[in-house]
């Protein structure tokens, strides 16, 4: 077993994570014996070939999926012990997600997409204040009233990052955040994520982007579901 990082002060820590898909003869371990810890103000990049289990690890860290074995602790809270409803509440305030394909809600404007987590948390005033600040920081002022379909890839990803940060979560998880972007847009996203780390957040990202990997404090390599 290898553990990456100091678990004691970690924002997120994983211990002996295992995830198996399928049953019987079709059972396949996508992730096996993975342990890691990421502290506040730390940016960790997970690298690995396609099918190595990177996205699965990210899903487990974010509580989007449950491990077959092992434990994930975020901000001192074990995710395993949480019910689905409690896990949803926990994600709402503690974890921000950034997806490769943005996953913006097409019917909502950029502004509405950014505000959505705050609406769900019934944090209207605080959410609005933070959203305005993020829009300013991310340079989205000119396009904030537009629908996702009218935005460029870079703009969509910045909106997605703003949405991930609007609840001021201690942990940000990003799955190939620059994967669908051109170089210039990618550079902006890298800068935004770096700023989030500077602000004290823990950021775990999956990437194939060397530039992004180079900004990470640590790089973790996965192969066939195991840490290298």
């Amino acid at each position: 077993m290898r553990t990456e990082g100091p678990a004691a002060t970690a924002t997120v820590s994983a211990r002996e994570l295992r995830r198996v898909y399928g049953r019987g003869h079709a059972a396949r371990a996508v992730l096996d014996s993975v342990s890691l810890a990421v502290g506040p103000g730390e940016l960790v990049a997970i690298l690995g070939p396609s099918g190595s289990g990177k996205s699965t690890l990210l899903n487990l860290l974010g509580g989007l999926d449950r491990p077959t074995a092992g434990e994930v602790v975020v901000n001192g809270q074990s995710l395993e012990s949480l019910s689905e409803a409690a896990l949803a509440r926990f994600r709402r305030t503690t974890i921000g997600f950034v997806f490769q394909s943005f996953h913006l809600i097409p019917e909502l404007s950029a502004w509405e997409n950014v505000l959505l987590p705050a609406r769900l948390a019934r944090d209207r005033h605080g959410g609005r204040r933070r959203a305005l600040a993020l829009v300013e920081t991310l340079g989205l002022g000119a396009v904030i009233g537009q629908l996702p379909i009218d935005l460029s890839g870079g703009e969509r990803q910045r909106v997605a990052i703003a949405r991930a940060l609007v609840m001021d979560p201690p942990l940000v998880l990003a799955d190939e955040p620059t994967g669908n972007l051109d170089a210039a847009s990618g550079a902006v996203v890298i800068e935004v994520l770096a700023n989030a780390v500077t602000a004290g957040r823990a950021v775990v990202l999956v990437t194939h982007d060397d530039r992004l990997a180079r900004t990470a404090h640590r790089v973790i390599a996965l192969r066939d579901g195991r840490l290298e």
Binding site: N59, A88, P106, E112, L116, L120, L147
Partner: protein, 763 residues
């Protein structure tokens, strides 16, 4: 096999959930179509089938007993009569089952004595006909069913000079009357000799009371009827019915149901077609990226459209076929019961050519409904399709609001899909509203004859001094002599009608049927006629109605107004008593009694009874009274329930489709911390928008479309108020909203169980 078909079949296999949803929508549409076709075919041809099988005569005449020796030569003298068969009728005759055969049942029946070589007009549906033995009886199917009788079972009849024990050898229907128990008295059949010798009180040699006549040339029926009238001189209480008259008489009872079923079938057809289009369109629009891929690799637009048409048609063949069968099976039993009530026969096979044609048309419609949007989609730029053309441009909205509002916006963002779902659900709701209105009106008319324009509540048989006694009874506001006579149109003797008259100047006080055109009748020689009579004879204000009363006299009436008349299929003329009595002096008279305001008819009835005067309540939409109205109301409520259930299923289906299409949105909401409650609110918002629009559409559709259609279809029953009632609307709206909420919760529960990872990955 071509690549087009291979892709279509592969798509069906690859997406079982999507295939299942599409199939469910098509199955529902098929079921609605199947039930509509089955009820229409069953009720539409029931009488003709029964008349054909029973060899119903062209003319049936009833009269007081007359010797066969007197009648025979008169009939033989009429050239156009091909053959005739007499019978003797006795009623009421007490009948009872025997204790040894289980629970004892007693009642009265109409006993018919048949000459065995001429059993015309009677169809044996179980057992056999009479052999001539004195102890054999054939019973009407309605009695056989209602009393749970069996072949071989014994019955006791009260004869002229003591009980007569008979054994049931056959079950029959006679398609010229309503069946028991809708008819107040069942018919049983015995050999002529038995009835004459043991039951009938008719005197003389070979007395008969009815004759069934077949003519050689049906085009000369009117002339033959005139000759029959002339030949009936000296016979008392002659009534003559033709096949047309029988049709009208049966329609009078079954017409309301048939009309409602036709209206239901029309609405069902529209709803089913919209559902087919919606289900097919949903399948295509979920697949725009695939269409883009096919275009990108060089597949032409028509081939893409054909592929999607084949894909949906292949699902439709199975789903619609199963739906048509299921829908038919679901209503076939109910239709058969209804046909039994009218002494009619169901179709020989439950599924026929009509079902096959409708199913084929529905499959073709489904294929076209899928092919057309695929063709339209394929014409869009390939790049746009590949980028995810499913993301549509939506209108700007102000503030995001709660997940409830987000759900509403999700539903509104697909206007065509929303419209299709709304129209489908609205169709079902509109039928529910119409059926509820009809049921309410029928119940109201049953309890309250004033709602039909009848301004009296009780009828008393006229007798010397009775009128004065009634008028002096406390609680009686007014009383008048009311006359009623049967007649036929003098120019078309196959067209029966009823003439109702009150003492001069009393008609408006006691009868106030809604006036459709013209004015109220004021004096002798004037008449208001029912809409049914006016339309069947082509009469209008200013024209003359010349009718032959059953006693032979001629009544000449100038039509001054046309009224809505719910009874007797609208074939009623309201005339002045002087005119009617001049033509038929012996017309039966009753006393119409109108209680004072606030006095219950029951109290007046009791007060009259204390004086030895028997009064019967008026009202009843049809002659068969309460049981018939109850049967109709039950059927209407059943249809409403089926449609209500269909609307709930459609709402569920629409939400499932929406949730599937928007599974990414649902997953995103959950990924950023949305709970199961948020997902339920999101889908609830969509469901409430859907149901609100459907309710509004249903109300508008009923107002602008269904009311006029049903009023036209109901024809003379148009007096029935099918317009919206606030209570019905409120109840339906509450039920619909609860259904929308329940459907939303069910779908939310289903989609909350799918892991966020899987839902996001699926996109």
């Amino acid at each position: 096999m071509s690549a087009v078909v291979i892709r279509a079949l592969a798509a069906i296999r690859a997406r079982p959930a999507s295939t299942l949803i599409t199939a469910l929508g098509l199955f529902l549409a098929g079921a609605i179509l199947g039930s509509a076709v089955t009820t229409r075919e069953a009720l539409g041809g029931g009488l003709e089938r029964a008349q054909r099988a029973a060899q119903t005569a062209d003319i049936v005449a009833h009269f007081d007993p007359v010797a066969l020796d007197t009648l025979g030569p008169r009939l033989d003298a009429i050239a156009n009569i091909a053959d005739w068969s007499p019978r003797i009728t006795a009623r009421p005759v007490n009948i009872a089952t025997r204790r040894a055969d289980g629970p004892r049942r007693t009642g009265t029946a109409e006993v018919n004595g048949l000459l065995l070589d001429q059993p015309r007009g009677l169809l044996i549906v179980a057992g056999r006909g009479l052999s001539g033995r004195e102890d054999e009886v054939v019973v009407e199917r309605g009695l056989f069913t209602a009393w749970h009788l069996r072949l071989g079972q014994g019955l006791r009849l009260r004869g002229r000079s003591g009980p007569l024990f008979v054994r049931i050898v056959g079950v029959s229907i006679e398609p010229d009357v309503l069946a028991f128990p809708l008819a107040s008295r069942p018919r049983i059949y015995l050999p002529y000799e038995t009835v004459r010798n043991r039951i009938s009180t008719a005197r003389g040699r070979l007395p008969v009371t009815a004759v069934a006549i077949n003519v050689t040339d049906r085009t000369r029926l009117a002339v033959t009827l005139a000759q029959l009238r002339a030949a009936s001189f000296g016979l008392d209480r002659v009534t003559i019915q033709t096949r047309t008259g029988i049709r009208l008489a049966i329609d009078q009872a079954s017409g309301l149901i048939s009309s409602v079923i036709v209206a239901f079938a029309i609405v069902a057809l529209v709803a089913a077609l919209v559902m087919i289009a919606a289900a097919a369109y949903a399948r295509v629009t979920r697949d725009l990226a695939t269409i883009g891929t096919l275009r990108a690799i060089g597949v032409s637009n028509p081939v893409i459209a054909a592929s999607y048409a084949i894909e949906v048609a292949a699902i439709a063949v199975v789903a619609i076929g199963a739906g048509v069968v299921a829908g038919s099976v679901a209503v076939a039993g109910q239709a058969a019961v209804l046909l039994e009530s009218f002494n009619e026969l169901p179709p020989p096979h439950p599924l026929g050519l009509g079902h096959a044609l409708v199913a084929s048309a529905a499959v073709a419609a489904a294929g076209m409904a899928a092919g057309a949007p695929a063709l339209i989609a394929a014409r869009r730029p390939v790049v746009e399709l590949l980028r995810g053309a499913a993301i549509v441009r939506t209108g700007r909205a102000g503030v995001i609001g709660s997940p409830l509002l987000l759900g509403a916006r999700l539903a509104l963002s697909r206007p065509f899909r929303l419209a299709a779902a709304v129209v489908s659900i609205a169709g079902g709701i509109a039928v529910v509203l119409v059926m509820a209105s009809l049921a309410r009106t029928l119940v109201a008319t049953q309890d309250n004859p004033q709602s039909l324009g009848v301004r009296y509540s009780l009828l008393v048989e006229d007798s010397p001094g009775a009128l004065d006694a009634v008028r002096s009874t406390p609680g009686v506001a007014a009383a008048a002599i009311r006359y009623e006579a049967l007649a036929v149109n003098a120019y078309d003797l196959g067209q029966p009608l009823r003439i109702v008259a009150f003492d001069a100047g009393r008609s408006g006080v006691f009868d106030g049927r809604p006036l459709l055109s013209g004015r109220r009748s004021l004096g002798p020689g004037e008449a208001e006629v029912g809409e049914g009579l006016a339309s069947s004879l082509g009469l209008a204000e200013g024209q003359m109605l010349i009718a032959a009363a059953e006693g032979g006299g001629e009544v000449r009436l100038r039509i001054v107004g046309v009224v809505r008349e719910p009874t007797n299929d609208g074939r009623v003329a309201y005339a002045d008593a002087t005119t009617l009595l001049a033509a038929q002096p012996g017309t039966a008279a009753q006393i119409a009694v109108r209680p004072t305001a606030g006095t219950s008819p029951e109290i007046v009835k009791e007060r009259l009874a204390a004086q030895g005067i028997t009064a019967v309540p008026t009202g009843g939409l049809v002659p068969s009274g309460a049981s018939f109205v109850a049967a109709v109301v039950a059927l209407l409520r059943a249809v409403a329930a089926v449609n209500g259930a269909g609307s709930v299923a459609l709402t569920l289906l629409a939400l499932v489709v929406l949730a599937r299409e928007r599974s990414e949105t649902v997953a995103i909401v959950r990924a950023i911390g949305g709970s199961r409650r948020h997902v339920a609110m999101l889908l609830g918002g969509a469901g409430l928008v859907l149901m609100t629009l459907a309710l509004v559409t249903a109300v508008v559709a009923q107002w602008l479309l269904l009311d006029p259609i049903i009023e036209r279809l109901l024809g003379t029953y148009g007096v029935l108020d099918v317009s919206l009632d606030g209570r019905d609307l409120a109840l339906t709206a509450v039920g619909a909203m609860l259904a929308a909420i329940a459907s939303s919760l069910a779908v939310a529960l289903r989609y909350s169980r799918i892991t966020v990872r899987r839902a996001l990955h699926a996109e």
